[in-house]
């Protein structure tokens, strides 16, 4: 009996770890897309400075804000389609 419940707990822990890993992978890949897309849009070319200017910084903030909105719209549409 003790054995069975331990095995069960182990399985639950493994499933939780695997879900957490998937969630983490998702966030990492989302962050990477945001960085890449917003760098593309906001970094002034040709590269003269390594630092970000004030304009570039506020462009990045707006880019992130818009990105979250796109995430929300797409998530809603994908979710509604599944049902």
């Amino acid at each position: 009996m003790a054995d069975a419940s331990e095995a069960e707990r182990n399985m639950v822990a493994a499933a939780a770890l695997s879900m957490a890993t998937t969630e983490l992978e998702y966030r990492v890949s989302l962050l990477n897309s945001m960085v890449s897309t917003c760098h593309e849009r906001c970094a002034a070319r040709p590269y003269k400075e390594g630092q970000l200017s004030v304009g570039e910084n506020s462009c990045l903030d707006r880019c992130c804000a818009k990105y979250w909105q796109v995430v929300a719209i797409v998530g809603q549409l994908l979710g509604s389609q599944k049902q």
Binding site: S18, T22, E25, Y26, S29, T37, V70, I73, G75
Partner: protein, 81 residues
């Protein structure tokens, strides 16, 4: 395998967001999406889901056809003995 499916759908989600952002968001002068951008994102996403369904259908047809041919060839080889 179920785990793999979840991962693939999250990957597709991320890619769809990236694609529709790049095709629809025009400038960074405002913090909020304009009405036009928002509409474009919705249509982009909807269209992409329909494309996925259509291509997926053709994809499955192709593979099931290939498997039938392989089975037919195997049967023919058996008869030829």
């Amino acid at each position: 395998l179920e785990q793999m499916q979840v991962r693939d759908s999250l990957k597709m989600y991320n890619k769809l967001v990236e694609r529709c952002f790049q095709e629809c968001v025009e400038d960074m002068r405002s913090k909020a999406l304009t009405g036009k951008e928002e509409q474009c994102v919705s249509k982009c996403c909807e269209k992409f889901m329909h494309v996925t369904a259509r291509v997926g259908m053709r994809f499955q047809e192709f593979f099931s056809q290939m498997e039938q041919q392989a089975a037919a060839a195997a049967a023919a080889a058996g008869t030829g003995k």
